[in-house]
Amino acid sequence: MLETMLSYLQYPFMQRALIVGALVSLCAALLGVSLVLKRYSMIGDGLSHVGFCALSVAAAANLAPLVVAIPVVMVAAFVLLRLNERTRVKGDAAIAMFSTTAVAVGAIVISMTKGMGEVSDYLFGKILSLTDSDVAISIALCVAVLAIFIFLYHRVFAITFDEPFARATGTRVGALNTLIALLTAVTIVIGMRMMGTMLISSLIIFPPLTAMRVFGRFRDVSIGAGIVAVFCFLAGILLSSYFERMPAGACVVAVNAAMFVVFSCVGAVLRRR
């Protein structure tokens, strides 16, 4: 079994998928720690739906998908962040309106141009769709996210734990939040073509929640989420390559869900002692 799985590694598309997927998983998990704890998980979901719309428009217009999608989703990230801040009460409803509208527009555009047959690739991802520029962008993204978590670690903690306090003591909360939202946008655009619109937000949500089942320190949660994310991605993709017909994104999510259950049990045992 292992031999069969390893034999896939010689294919360039598989190598690209592994590099891009592992890096995107790591970025999504780190950004996710902050987003989940700030109750911003919905933003990831909203952005992936906007990404769906942008990718389908790009395909219809025969434009390079990343050139269209990355700026569009970045703008959406900026807008969603403001929506969440300004109108606290209706924030989640506003995001839902925003994202369903984007999906509707995307579906209309695809059905008029490429036909609905392609929709499933967008919704559940396609590992073959990754290109060399995805590899380059995901490396750059990963460097940026790691730089933020290393060089601005204490500030990221401060704005995640208590924004008003961080702001009062001179942290540039708005700038840091915007930076996190923009990097989330890039993460989602790169990751969604492999994971799919429906499943990409799981990369943001699962690893932090899984790590929180066991760890009680912010530093440990961050490091743990990163490790869990990369491990689950690699396990999921190997699984999907062994059972040839299984979509990679779905396998990765399934492994993440299983890991969450395992960590929950471990956490429960640790707490009882």
């Binding site: 903690f157 208590d162 306090f165 702001r167 009062a168 320190r217």
Partner: protein
């Protein structure tokens, strides 16, 4: 010169004026309790003093060597914080970010400052413990220790005892008295607790969209009788 001087300050909250034409001064070493019913604009006024919201009109001046990013702020607790995965020392040390400048890590000196504040508040034994597992009273001590890390001269506390039982409340008050008398810390505390205001504070402010009363606690006791 006062630490902070407000002149004819009006602050809006969600489009409406929350407080209007407020003029007051906070002096070094003074323990002030700000009273007022819900919606009287206390928290909004405090946020304006901290520079978190811009006043619609009027002036807020800082003086006597105070730096705005060196005010020890203790906001009202949020739901999200209650089960936040963080060690006590991580939370307390986050009060030091205003001293970091462009540095990436805390210095040994800064970590010592955090430890000293944890000792002062009797939570140094909990420093590796997870914040989420603490009692309400312990959590408030952690947030106060964080505020002390940030503060040189002035603490601003927004209803710090709102969710505490009587015993934890008394414990918290005695710490504030200690900080006030031994360290000469100026304190501005928003509260609903009239009894404590009359007992501990140097000065009482009653806010109801405008300043209704501002004076020494003895004068406040008289004013309450007259307005009962």
């Amino acid at each position: 010169m006062a630490l902070m001087t407000l002149r004819d300050v009006t602050v809006a909250f969600e489009g409406h004026a929350a407080v209007e034409h407020v003029s007051l001064a906070l002096r070094r070493g003074e323990y002030t309790v700000m009273l007022g019913r819900n919606g009287s604009g206390k928290s909004t006024l405090m946020r304006a003093m901290l520079g978190l919201v811009r006043p619609k009109s009027g002036q807020i001046r800082i003086g006597d060597g105070l730096r705005r990013d060196r005010i020890g702020y203790m906001p009202q607790k949020t739901q999200a914080q209650r089960d936040f995965p963080a060690a006590v020392e991580e939370v307390v040390r986050s009060g030091l970010i205003n001293r970091m400048g462009r540095r990436v890590f805390y210095t040994a000196e800064e970590k010592a400052r955090a430890l000293e504040n944890m000792r002062l508040l009797g939570i140094d034994g909990l420093r590796k413990a997870s914040y989420a597992t603490l009692s309400g009273g312990q959590q408030q001590r952690v947030l106060l220790a964080r505020a002390l890390c940030a503060a040189d001269d002035l603490l601003m506390l927004d209803e710090p005892v709102a969710a505490l039982d009587p015993e934890a409340t008394e414990g918290f008050y005695s710490i504030l008295r200690l900080l006030h008398t031994q360290r000469g810390m100026a304190i501005l505390m928003i509260s609903h607790d009239v009894r404590a205001a009359v007992r501990d504070a140097d000065r009482v402010i009653v806010l109801d969209r405008a300043v209704r009363f501002d004076g020494a606690r003895e004068a406040y006791a008289q004013w309450r009788k007259d307005n009962a």
